[in-house]
């Protein structure tokens, strides 16, 4: 022991303290345990899949609605072939003159026949004999506006005189049960995301409390040396954020692999509606934000958990 130390000359202090490496050294066990990192990864992967599913369904519904919003089908349901043909021609002529009709075309009988042949048999279609099945004539039209109840009623009124056998239907009406199912699936995806967020919060809460217990003695020492709750909470918050970020990135990678695999499978179906379910760039941005949100959520949970526990100490 030599003469009086230089510390007696005084030390300039700045209030930031325990940032970065020194904080990590002080509370090395403030980090989440190994399995917790993978729990977060799994939560984020599931959230990515649920979010991608929900967004794809929204795109399917939106695209279908856009396509069908002004689409109307007119069926001439008349058993007599000549009367059916006459009414179909009259209806087509009337529709072509109506204001608000953007496009109108008769669906060729051959095309209808080709569509129905696999079920009804070619021999039973298109003939005029007693044995043949009478197939309605179809007119496909698109309105400038939406095919709502008022527009449909106006069309029915316009056709009542020239084609009394005409049945007018908005195409969107046929897909109402499908839209309803899609809507339910979207709610399911949103609920799953909320549940996964709640489970992530609970997992981080438990891990932070466990880390607090492990480091209790060190925390008491830091308190006695004048450390604040915020300083201690910041160490935990940073450590948890770092681990949560690693878990989130791993989860994003896993989730994206699953989404891309599923996407390629659905795309291979080639079905009109399913191909409309592709993800747009805004959707990818939202998905990319999931790990960020997960990391912030984990860090905030750790901070509030630690601050709440420290408030019970003097």
């Amino acid at each position: 022991m030599s003469q009086a130390p230089a510390f007696l000359r005084g030390v300039t202090t700045r209030l930031s303290g325990l940032a970065g490496k020194s904080g990590r050294q002080l509370l090395p066990q403030a980090r989440l345990a190994g399995p917790m990192l993978w729990v977060i990864a799994i939560m984020i992967a599931l959230t990515v899949v649920a979010a991608a599913g929900g967004l794809a369904l929204a795109n399917v519904a939106g695209e279908a609605r856009g396509e069908l919003s002004g689409a109307v089908t007119v069926q001439i349901v008349e058993a007599g072939a000549e009367a059916r043909e006459a009414q179909a021609r009259a209806a087509l002529a009337r529709l072509q003159r109506l204001p608000g009709v953007a496009d109108v075309a008769r669906v060729p009988d051959e095309e209808i026949g080709a569509l129905l042949a696999p079920w009804l048999g070619e021999a039973n279609l298109g003939g005029s004999g007693d044995a043949s099945i009478a197939v309605p004539a179809l007119i496909d039209l698109r309105l400038n506006g939406a095919a709502d109840g008022k527009a449909i009623a106006a069309l029915r009124k316009a056709l009542a005189e020239v084609a009394p056998a005409a049945r007018v239907d908005a195409q969107a009406d046929w897909l109402k049960p499908v839209f309803s199912a899609i809507h339910s699936l979207q709610w399911l995806a949103a609920s799953l995301i909320l549940l996964l967020a709640a489970a992530t919060i609970a997992a981080v809460w438990l891990a932070a409390r466990s880390a607090l217990g492990t480091n209790r003695e060190t925390i008491e020492i830091v308190h006695h040396l004048g450390g604040t709750d915020a300083q201690i909470a910041r160490i935990f918050q940073r450590s948890v954020a770092f681990d949560a970020a690693l878990g989130s990135i791993a989860g994003l990678a896993l989730g994206l692999i699953a989404v891309l695999l599923m996407g390629s499978r659905f795309a291979a179906l080639g079905s009109g509606m399913v191909t409309g379910g592709g993800l747009r760039w805004q959707d990818w941005l939202l998905i990319a934000a999931i790990p960020l949100v997960g990391t912030v959520l984990a860090a905030l949970t750790a901070r509030f958990t630690v601050m709440a526990a420290l408030r019970r100490m003097l």
Partner: protein, 241 residues
């Protein structure tokens, strides 16, 4: 120092009980002035450690009033306690070193807590290590240090921030007599710079080594102060900070 801070600590009829047990401290009244040197003595179980816990703000009393640096610390919101704790240096009887930090980092801890950047830490911490004779043990973890070495690290940690008041619980209990005297000289050096020093000890020989010291004797949780000199001490000159 403002007029409000003419005393550094004042206890008025302080009592302490743990839970629903009987009082371990009762009717404790005294005033500590800046620049004073106190020895706190008493038999085992007399309440020395409990009194020190009140002094270093690890415990609130069950009754009475405690004023520190001119502020009532009983009603002080806990968010303001760290500011007061940073003005104290504490040597715990069981050292309370952080087990996974080296001797260097343990000594540097109060400065890090106060926000001193790493580049400004090296000189004061090295000086302290040199002063307590542990330069070659700077990287050693507490578990690999002897009891005496741990105690010296604990003392270095307590004084490195140049506290307004140093509180030491049996600081010479694990060191040889020569080292005990050297540590006492460090406390005296701090004291000469205006730091109030409170040393709890069983070692009556130490008391003779600091001639200007005052003695606070605890007996079964009561402060032995027949003349009232501890409660109403004569004004002492305030040492320059």
């Amino acid at each position: 120092m403002s007029a409000e801070e003419d005393h550094i600590v004042r206890f008025d009829n302080v009592g302490l009980r743990y839970g629903t047990g009987k009082e371990v401290l009762g009717d404790i009244s005294f005033t500590l002035y800046p620049g004073s040197f106190y020895f706190l003595t008493g038999a085992s179980g007399a309440g020395k450690t409990s009194l020190l816990r009140l002094l270093y703000l690890a415990q609130r009393p069950s009754r009475g009033m405690i004023s520190m640096f001119g502020t009532d610390v009983i009603t002080l919101p806990r968010v303001r306690l760290p500011g007061f704790r940073r003005r104290l240096g504490v040597v715990f009887q069981d050292f309370r070193l952080v087990p996974h930090l080296s001797a260097y980092d343990n000594i540097a801890l109060p400065l890090r807590v106060a926000g001193v950047p790493d580049e400004d830490l090296h000189q004061p911490v090295s000086d302290m290590l040199d002063w307590v004779g542990l330069v070659d043990r700077a990287d050693a973890k507490p578990a690999t240090l002897s009891g005496g070495e741990q105690q010296r690290v604990a003392i270095a940690r307590a004084v490195i921030g140049r506290p307004d008041m140093l509180i030491a619980d049996e600081p010479t209990g694990n060191v040889d007599p020569e080292m005990a005297v050297k540590l006492l000289r460090l406390f005296e050096a701090l004291n000469r710079l205006g730091t109030t020093v409170v040393v709890a000890t069983h070692d009556l020989h130490l008391l003779k080594k600091v001639p200007d010291s005052l003695i606070m004797r605890l007996d079964k949780g009561r402060l032995n102060d027949p003349t009232g000199a501890l409660r109403y001490p004569p004004r002492r000159p305030v040492m320059p900070a």
